[in-house]
């Protein structure tokens, strides 16, 4: 059995006091412990940013790649060994800014991994610039007169791109978030989990109590997560901020179409000697 304490890496997180990343880390550990997935069968993949330091603070395999590029290596790891549990994490700048292309394509591909976005509506590690989810008009260090652009709606985007599991959590509600993450990991296919996460340093205008005031839980209001249209409607609410599972459906996953990894993952194939006759005879 894997316990939460087994998942402690022994390294103290470097995040600011009160950072939402602590809640996300605890929730992820809780989810992995609850699902009982062996640590050595889990890979946590990240990009670069405050939240992307997370792999160092959890005792599993980790891949801390490039800024905005957590998804491609997560897909590579999953395809090379589809028996592993792969969880990609990264911030809103990482995933919805520089990594937006990968994000949308990951949603349509429906590979079996989980993507958690630590969405604090700000660039933290680069010291406080506007992010794709920063609401229009917000003053940041790169938009001192207020952000001119409209913010994106990541839930609506993943829903429209074909994601088969779309949820949102709040780093201030760890049991709920852990439930979202464990559902996402257990889901067969891509799981997109956007997480509301206060940045106590650069977004003092977005504190915990504001989230708590605005947030409501989808399941408490009878939302049917099998209804895509209803999910899209909920995703567009602005006055109140829904958390929970927006949408969930079962569709064939990418690797269902790859017969030769049914029995043994790619990385376990014997490559000591390959007879290339089937290829080379074309050139005779």
């Amino acid at each position: 059995m894997v316990t939460v304490s087994d998942l402690n890496s022994g390294h103290a997180p470097t995040w600011c006091p009160g950072c939402g990343d602590f809640g996300i880390l605890i929730a992820l550990k809780g989810a992995l412990a609850k699902l009982g997935i062996p640590q050595h069968d889990t890979v946590v993949v990240s990009g670069v940013g405050c939240g992307s330091k997370l792999p160092h603070f959890i005792k599993t395999y980790g891949f801390e790649g490039l800024h905005g590029r957590s998804i491609p290596p997560a897909q590579g790891i999953h395809l090379a060994n589809n028996k592993l549990t792969v969880v990609a994490v990264g911030g809103d700048g990482d995933g919805y800014g520089i990594g937006m292309g990968h994000f949308l394509h990951a949603m349509r591909r429906n590979m079996d991994f989980t993507y958690i976005v630590q969405n604090n509506e700000i660039y933290g590690l680069t010291t406080g610039q506007t992010s794709p989810t920063t609401k229009q008009g917000t003053k940041t260090r790169s938009t001192p007169n207020g952000a001119i652009e409209r913010e994106i709606n990541p839930i609506l985007m993943s829903l429209s791109a074909g994601a088969t599991f779309v949820a949102r959590g709040f780093s201030g509600d760890i049991p709920h978030l852990a439930d979202m993450i464990s559902q996402g990991i257990a889901h067969r296919g891509i799981a997109h989990i956007d997480v509301f996460q206060p940045c106590t340093t650069w977004r003092k205008d977005l504190p915990y109590d504001l989230y708590q005031k605005k947030i409501y839980k989808l399941d408490a209001e009878g939302h049917d997560p099998s209804n895509l249209e209803a999910a899209m409607k909920r995703a567009q609410e602005t006055e109140r901020w829904p958390i929970g599972v927006f949408y969930k459906t079962e569709k064939p996953i990418y690797t269902d179409e790859i017969p030769f990894i049914n029995d043994s993952p790619l990385a376990k194939h014997d490559i000591s000697s390959t007879d290339i006759s089937k290829y080379i005879e074309e050139f005779m």
């Binding site: 390294h11 640590q39 050595h40 069968d41 889990t42 890979v43 993949v45 670069v48 330091k53 792999p55 160092h56 005792k59 599993t60 395999y61 980790g62 891949f63 801390e64 790649g65 490039l66 590029r69 998804i71 491609p72 290596p73 997560a74 897909q75 590579g76 790891i77 999953h78 395809l79 090379a80 060994n81 028996k83 592993l84 292309g101 990968h102 394509h105 790859i258 017969p259 030769f260 990894i261 790619l266 990385a267 376990k268 194939h269 490559i271 000591s272 000697s273 390959t274 290339i276 006759s277 089937k278 290829y279 080379i280 050139f283 005779m284």
Partner: protein
Amino acid sequence: MADVNRVNFLIGGPAGAGVASVGLLFAKCLQRSGLEVFGANDYPSLIKGGHNIYAVSASPQPIFSLLGKPDILIALDKKTVEVRASELSAGGALIYDSSKVSTAKEIAKRQDITYVGAPLSQMAAAAGGEIMFNTVALGAAMGILGLDFAIIENMMAKMWARKGQKVVDSNIAAARAGYDFSKSIVNGSFKAKVEFVKREKTLFINGNEASVAGAIAAGCKFVAEYPMSPSTAILHLMAGHELDFGIIVKQTEDEIAAANMIAGAAFAGARSMTATSGGGFSLMSEAIGMMGIMETPCVIFNSQRAGPSTGLPTYTEQADLLFSLHTSQGEFPRVVIAPGDATECYVEAFNAFNIAELLQVPVIVLLDKYLSESSQTVEDFRKLPLKVERGKLMSDEKMEAAAAFKRYEYTANGISNRCLPGQKNGMHVCSSYEHDETGFTSEEGPERVKQIDKRATKLSVIPEVFIAPTFYGASLALADITIVCWGSTKGPALEALKLLEQRGVAARLMHIRYASPFPAATVLKNLKASKNTVILEGNSEAQMRALILQKTGYYIEKAYLRYDARPFTPEEIAAHISQLVGRK
């Protein structure tokens, strides 16, 4: 007396008319007749129209590039007659559609060639479809050479097998019509003929195809690629054999994704590669540095085309050498290999996967358009004794017993044990940040120095003998001049050696394959002992000369550079070198 088994051939026409496929069929018919064959194309970046050519040279002896003027020219349109008829050798034959280019004789203005004007389209229509007019022309070329028609028949059957017997039969009928027509005109009097030679079967294969063969043989299991000329065929070939060899082939949203995806797959234990050209390679820069600091074994094929930027997408150049050596910020070891012909593409592709795992580094294989798309007859690769070596990759059993595993442990040669996710006791973070032996982020000065040195040491593991350049032609003692080249310039340079010998010039060729690690000792020793030296490169800045100077301190004063985006030709090299050494 007709020249036996020595012939040059050219076909030209608009894109979409099947120029390359007819050229390839012609070449393969000669290959199957037991000849040595070289085939190369030239085409602009468009899908329909324009002027495409495919050229073939055949010889009883090994050949390494196109040779001399075409003896047979198939003109699939009027433009080809206009721009190419003047290239035909004296006594050559021009095959054209008499119903479409009725003025061929007036356009060509040649008295010294045979006009094989046949109503190609009508003959094709009679055989089953006008679309086969190019097959009729192919048959006509074969008829001129007196090739055994059974060879053409077998080739057609193989080529069209997937499309069904009806397509096979009508193509054979179309070829037959052309064959009989030209035979009746030429009647055995043509200047060249083909006689069947019995020998072991060869491969007729280009650089892209041979690289794929090497990758498959080496156990490549994962390919992520975004299409880009002239590397796209690698994606197609791999995808076409996905099920045959159990290789996952993923077309990605861009080259950034491709490079990062293979890094993930390699980390998880699958031998992984991508292929691209300059533009895509530029996008992969950051990920290549990541592979360097993470010590993740990946193979990247960069088939160079003429740059910068979009440049000349379907034309050749050797101008990414220094870029490949310095791609990505910071300092990290990488291996850069530039094979010179199809067999070297196979061998070095195979080596690339071994080296990537032995040294835990990114390996860049530099091809170019000319190498990627030129085909030549070579011995069957299956005879080559290459062996998969995976270096310090830990087994499940060893990891089961491991305690306190350090992924980046300091060792004498800088190479650490590598374990894979899924293996017990090996949990670590593979990080793009500088790190300590365990993989944990470290920004301490002394740790940093140790990691830089650790990684740099790895390159010295490859012995000089493995990476040494190859030498051809005259011995060091007898040579008037040492010609230095790298990559695909090898082929035309080898042919130039023969021409130079005929002119009384004793030339020695040094062909460099490994740019990193660089075989400095061997290169320097040979350059210093040469009477005269010259470098041939397909770029304007003499990049290999700069590298040689940097690594050895030796400056090759004379450089023959070609940067009109075309490959070198043996004739031009020979003329240039003759002049250099004061011979005509």
